[in-house]
Symmetry: C2
Subunit: 444 residues, 2 copies
Amino acid sequence: MPDTAPRGMAMINAFDPAAAPALSPRERAMVERRQRLLGPAYRLFYEHPVHLVRGDGAWLFDADGKRFLDCYNNVASLGHAHPRVVEAIARQAARINTHTRYLHDTVLDYAEALLATLPPALGHVMFTCTGSEANDLALRIARAHTGGEGIVVTSLAYHGVTASLAELSPSLGEGVPLGRHVATVSPPDAYRGGPDMPARFAADITRAFAGLARHGIRPCALLVDTMFTSDGVFPDPAGFLAEAAAAARAAGALFIADEVQPGFGRTGRMWGFERHGAEPDIVTMGKPMGNGHPLAGLAIRPELLERFGSRARYFNTFGGNPVSAAAGLAVLDVLRDEALPANAARVGAHLLAGLGALAARHAILGDIRGAGLSIGAELVRDRATKEPATAETARTVNALREGGVLISASGPAANILKIRPPLCLSTEQADLFLDTLDQALAAG
Amino acid sequence: MPDTAPRGMAMINAFDPAAAPALSPRERAMVERRQRLLGPAYRLFYEHPVHLVRGDGAWLFDADGKRFLDCYNNVASLGHAHPRVVEAIARQAARINTHTRYLHDTVLDYAEALLATLPPALGHVMFTCTGSEANDLALRIARAHTGGEGIVVTSLAYHGVTASLAELSPSLGEGVPLGRHVATVSPPDAYRGGPDMPARFAADITRAFAGLARHGIRPCALLVDTMFTSDGVFPDPAGFLAEAAAAARAAGALFIADEVQPGFGRTGRMWGFERHGAEPDIVTMGKPMGNGHPLAGLAIRPELLERFGSRARYFNTFGGNPVSAAAGLAVLDVLRDEALPANAARVGAHLLAGLGALAARHAILGDIRGAGLSIGAELVRDRATKEPATAETARTVNALREGGVLISASGPAANILKIRPPLCLSTEQADLFLDTLDQALAAG
C-alpha cells in the first residue's frame, strides 16, 4: 500500500477524565453522571468541558450565561435554533409523521428541490437519518454495482461509525482495525506535499487500486470527504479532485463524494466537489442537512442503482419521513433566502485574509487554507522544518474556549486548527474570532 | 446449519408498479414521481397505496379525508402526533440542539429514566438515531468483547439495513446474501413446530453455534427480536427465550434482545424479554422510542463495554442530542401517565379473544397468538394440513385497507396477519378492527 497508516492516537481535543477534580462541583457531578450512565466510549471536548444550554445564530450560551462564539459546529449551519426550521419541524410533527411506504408529498417536494442543487446526472435520492447510514448505503450500492469490494480512502479519513464504515475510517485510531479490502492514500496536502501533489494524489489512488487488485480485491470505490476535513482541510489547488476521480474510474471504481461535512454551502458553493469540477457517481450528505434534525441521504446516477434496486429493497423507518423532509426543505429555503453560501464565501475570504495577517505576526501559523467557512490553520514550531506544534495547538484551542470561542483541531499531528462556524457568521463575529486567536497566540 | 434458508421472496404487501394504470391520476402521478426521484429500491404498501396527510391517536386520514384505523404502525406508538411529544420537540429545538461532546442535562436525565425501566444489570445506555445503528453498534461491541464473529438469527429475521446487518437479515430475501459468519435457526413456532418447540429452539441454537465453530467461526451473539415479528409473531409459551439465552451463553455467545419492535410497552410490559424471564446482555431499541422522532439506542451490562470503550470512542452526531432526549423523555412520561403498557395488555387481550371468536366462524383462521398489541393471526386453507392461505392473506390485507383498517402480513409464506396498533387503541377501535376483519373474511 502506498501509505503508512497513522499512529494510534487519542481523540484530538478530548477531555481527560483524570482532570475532573479541577472542575466545579456541578461540572464534576455531570461528568461522573455521564460516565456512570453512558459508559466509557463517550468523549467530551476541551480540558474544561462546555455545558451548553441555549443557542442563537452563531452564539452559544452555557449554564452560567457565558457566551461563546461557535466557530466549530457544522450541523446547525444556518445558525442555532433557526426559527424557520424549528417551525417546520413543529408544524409537520403536529400533523403526521409516517414513513416512505405511504404516499406523501413533502418527501417528493424535498427530493426534487435537493436534486435541483446537484448535477443533472444524479437523478435519484435516497434518505437515511445519519451520514453514517448514507455512507453505509452508498457502499452497499457501489458493491452491488461494481461486484468489487476494494475501497480507497485517505489516511486519516472519517466516514462513519457503522461496522462497515469504522473499518475504513482510519481516524478512529489503531484500536479500530481497517478492513483487508481497504487501502489508504496520503491526503492531498499541498503544504507538506508540495506543488506536484495533485498529480501525485491521483497516482497514489491508481497505485492503491492496483495494490488491492494484486491481492485479488476488485475495485469498488474511491470515497473521500471533498474538503478532507479530518485529514487536515485540503482544498487547493481547486481541480485536483477531478484528476483523482478520473484515476478511480480508470481503475474501475466509482467516485463517492462524502459531502457530509462540506455540503450545503459550507465551502461557499452548495457542494464541495463543485470547486474541483469533479462529477461524483454518488454524493453522500448529512450533518447540516436538517440543521440538527437527524436527516441524511445520498444522490446517485440512476444507472448505478439498477442492480441494487433489482435485488434489494430499501427501507429506513425514519429516513425521509414527513418531518425530516419538512426540516430539509426549510434548510434549503433558508440557504437560498439568506444567501448563506455567498455569505460563507464572503466571510470565509475575510477570515482567510485575517488569518494571513495574523501569520505575518505569529510565526507559529505555518499555513492557512480553506474554502468558504471550512478553514484549516496549521501550527508549526519552525516554518522551514514544518515541525508540528501539537502541544501549542491544544493550548490554543483551550485558550480560545476560555476566551469564549469554540473551535477544535485535526490532522495526524493534531496541529491544525479546524475552523467551521455557522454559515451565518458575520464579519464582526469573524473579527472577534481573529482578535481572540491573536490574544491566544500572543499568550503562547 | 440446522435450517433451510427461506425462498427468495418479494416484499409482503408491496404495491406492484405494474398496477399503476388502475390508480387515480393524482396517485399515478405521485407513484411516477416517486420512481423518478427515489429510484427502484423504494416500495409502497398495498395494491392501492395510501396517501396519508394527517394523524390523530390511532386514526390516520388520507388526502380525500378518508379515515383509516391504524392497526399496523409501531412507531407512533403513543398515537399519531401526540401533543406532549410534539411540544417537547418544538420547545427543545427552539432552545438548542447540540451533541454529546458538550455537557447537557437532558440526555443524562433521559439515560437515567430509560435505564430505570430495564434490569439493574444493564447499567449503560448509548444513543443512536435508528434501530439499524443500534444493532450495528451492539454487534461491534459484542465482537470486541467476545473476540468472535459467529451470529445466530432466526430464518426470517430482520435486524436492519446497514451492510453488517443486511447480511444477517434473511427477511431481505435471496438477493441480499447472508454472511459466512451467520447461521439461521427456525423460529420458535409453537403452531407448526409443536409442543416441544421451546426445548428444540434452544437445541437448534446450540447446534448452530457448534456448526459455526466447526467452520472456525467463534461465537459472538444470539440476536433475536423478542416477539419474532418478521418471522410471524411467536410469543408463547412465555419462558422459552430464557432457555434460548442460556443455550447461547453456554456456547460462549452473548444474548442480544432486539427490542426495536417489541419494546416500550407493546407486549403489555415495557420490554418483550420480560415475559420470558430472560436477562439480555444487550438490549437494542428504536422505532417507538421517540414516537416518530429518529431516536434509538442500546442498553448494556457495563463489563461488556470495557473492551470496546478502551479501544474505540463512540460518537453519533445526532444520537442523544437534546431534542432527541427531550422526545424520548416525553415518550416515557406519556407511557407512564397514560398507562399505555396496561392498555396494550387489556385491549390486546380483548383483540385476542375477539379473534378467537372469529376463528370459531372462519375456518381460515388457523392460529391466533400475541402479547399485548403485537398479534399474529395465521391464515390456512386447511386446519389439518395447515396449508398457508397466502393469496387469501393478501386479499384480506387489501380488503381491510379498502374497509379503512391498516395492517400487513408476515411469515415465510406471507400468510400471517401482522396486527400492531398504537398502544392507545380503545376497545371500541379494537371492535371496529374485528368487525372489518369479519367482513373481509366473509367476503373471501
